[in-house]
């Protein structure tokens, strides 16, 4: 228990409340989308499964396809070659080079990307263009990407989006710290929710208890989130400026230990399947990403990343001389050229933030932690506005909080419907997702503005519930597999996500008892 004078308590409470209310709306959006993004892989696999057995990792025979496609690609776009497995068993094979941009002295990444069926090794799609053009062609992962992008940078251009989410993370840390200080009886009141009392007291208890239990992880998630946002938007440019005279490419090469070229003698590439199999054996888990440079030369180099081995927190990375296929060494998975304390700390950030180190178990726990953080943020903002409900400006603010709090989940579910129907209709998925998301946001604002806030809130919950219940139907009607077909092909993710959506929809539609709506003096609610 931290003892503070009454004045200091008031000051800390003001910092807690104002930081929460000023940053809370956007923070809530970041947390909500982040909570869903915990399952981004599963969302992609569920929304775009390939017909046939589900594939996890590179299949044998990839080497032959790789070499055939390599020969097809313009040599200018062979500087960097990557391949990874994602989105329902697809293999993405990417060839990239540098294209001189219209701006003098600047280069843009240009290349060719193939989408390959992991089962049949048949090429499904070929896209040539700049980074963003190739990204737009990855429609199979567009739904998950929509949530991830909203979470990472609120769909704002770089670096501003990252900078903003980094600041929001700092705000969340500040709210967590001041919340810890201001609610003095955290441990003693850990089980006390006075739901039999007045509205304000109920709201206060709901916020404080959820905050108490989620405090350690709220801090961890906020810290690691800020780290990721600032690392690339501020940290890397700052380091490049100080150490590498502003050359970010060189800074990246040093940080990620890119090998320097040393022999441009033409040489064939070793067997890719063999390198992938070797990395899988060394890493104790399947290889899921391979990155190569200087392919076609004697100094060709490959780095293979494996999934997380059971019981570990991170996957591993292995380096190969790609012309001979000889194993060189294990590389620190994140930063530097050799194992270091810095790499260990940096490598810890990833599992602590994403929670993907132990499959669905850790993801379910991280989802629940994200849900708790979203609940704390929303209940905190509602409590702040409820305490000032006599003033008209704060009544309007309560409307805005309700709009974001209940309108955002509704918009997110409707965006998922839009994804399926857009793909089935053959229209641009990205644009339709955006249009539906904003249309839902405007509709939610109208519901709040035109009627009572309580009624609008109830309707938004009901609509979200109905939309969640109908989502498996949309998926199935838009050329998705039936449950029988999915189970026959080992695509349990399809049935699991459908069931989770049905449960969530049922929960939203479950009739709740009407609670007493009475005003109580502020003094009664503050402890």
């Amino acid at each position: 228990m931290i003892k503070l004078s009454q004045d200091n308590t008031r000051r800390v409470l003001d910092i807690h409340g104002w930081s929460g209310i000023l940053l809370g709306l956007l923070l809530y959006a970041v947390i909500c989308t982040g909570t869903v993004a915990v399952f981004s892989d599963e969302i992609s696999n569920w929304s775009s499964p390939l017909s046939g057995e589900s594939v996890d990792g590179f299949p044998t025979g990839f080497n032959a396809v790789f070499k055939r496609l390599y020969e097809e690609v313009d040599p200018r776009w062979r500087e960097e070659v990557d391949a990874f497995v994602a989105h329902g068993g697809r293999i993405y094979l990417r060839f990239e080079g540098e294209l001189e941009s219209e701006q003098e002295g600047h280069h843009e990444h240009y290349g060719v990307e193939y989408q390959i069926d992991g089962n049949t090794l048949e090429v499904l799609k070929r896209t040539e263009g700049l980074d963003h053009e190739r990204a737009a062609a990855r429609e199979a992962g567009a739904l998950a990407e929509f949530f991830v992008d909203l979470h990472v940078r609120l769909h704002l251009p770089n670096p501003w989006g990252l900078f903003l989410t980094g600041v929001l993370g700092l705000g969340m840390m500040l709210a967590a710290l001041t919340g810890f200080v201001v609610h003095r009886h955290l441990i003693r009141e850990a089980f006390t929710i006075r739901r039999n009392k007045e509205a304000l007291l109920r709201a206060r208890d709901a916020h404080v208890i959820a905050g108490t239990w989620s405090l350690p992880f709220a801090f961890v998630l906020a810290f690691t989130g800020s780290f990721f946002s600032f690392a690339s938007s501020v940290g890397l440019p700052a380091m490049a400026m100080v150490v590498f005279s502003g050359d970010q490419e060189r800074a990246l090469a040093e940080v990620f230990n890119r090998h320097e070229p040393y022999d441009d003698t033409p040489a064939a590439l070793a067997n890719v399947d063999t390198m992938l199999a070797d990395a899988s054996a060394r890493g104790g888990a399947k290889a899921v990403f391979i990155s190569m440079n200087y392919v076609g030369r004697a100094d060709a180099f490959a780095r293979v990343f494996t999934q997380v081995e059971p019981g570990q927190l991170s996957g591993r990375a292995f380096d190969y001389a790609a012309a001979s296929g000889e194993f060189l060494h294990e590389n620190p998975v994140l930063v530097g050229k050799q194992p270091s304390a810095g790499n260990t700390v940096a490598a810890l950030m990833t599992p602590l933030h994403f929670g993907h180190f132990a499959g669905w178990v850790s993801k379910a726990v991280w989802f629940a932690l994200g849900f708790a953080a979203a609940y704390v943020t929303l209940s905190g903002m509602l409590l702040w506005t409820l305490r000032r409900a006599q003033r008209r400006a704060w009544q309007r603010m309560a409307g805005v909080v309700n709009w974001m709090g209940y309108g955002l989940p509704l918009a997110m579910v409707l965006t998922a419907h839009a994804y399926f129907w857009a793909r089935a209709s053959g229209v641009a998925v990205g644009s339709v997702q955006w249009a539906v998301f904003w249309a839902a946001a405007v509709a939610a604002a109208l519901m709040i503005g035109l009627g009572s806030q309580a009624r609008a809130r109830a309707w938004m919950i009901r609509l979200s519930g109905a939309a969640l219940l109908l989502l498996p139907l949309s998926r199935w009607l838009c050329d998705g597999p039936s449950w029988a077909s999915a189970l026959n092909h080992g695509q349990q993710v399809v049935v699991s996500v459908d069931l989770a959506l049905l449960v969530a929809g049922g929960f939203c539609l479950w009739p709740r008892s009407r609670r007493r709506e009475g005003f109580v003096p502020v003094a009664e609610a503050t402890s």
Binding site: N196, W213, S214, G311, L313, F357, A358, V361
Partner: protein, 86 residues
Amino acid sequence: MIEGLLAVLVSASVLWWLAGRDPKRLRAARQRDRRAHAPAVRRGLLLLALLPGLGLLLWVNVAAVLVWFGGLTVSGWLIAELRAPR
């Protein structure tokens, strides 16, 4: 990762027990006829709830500890919600 989940189950059971006779909760619920846990019992139960985490740290792995700790905090919140007086 079954060890982590089992540890969450054990710790959550202890928390449920702890919450059942929590003095502040009993006062808020106006259940004055039920006797609250003595402070020593509460401290003991709290330690008991944390023991599975120590076990995981010593004999299993850090991944299981993280799953346990995350699961413990979420369970604590759910227990507080479920045992709140209506």
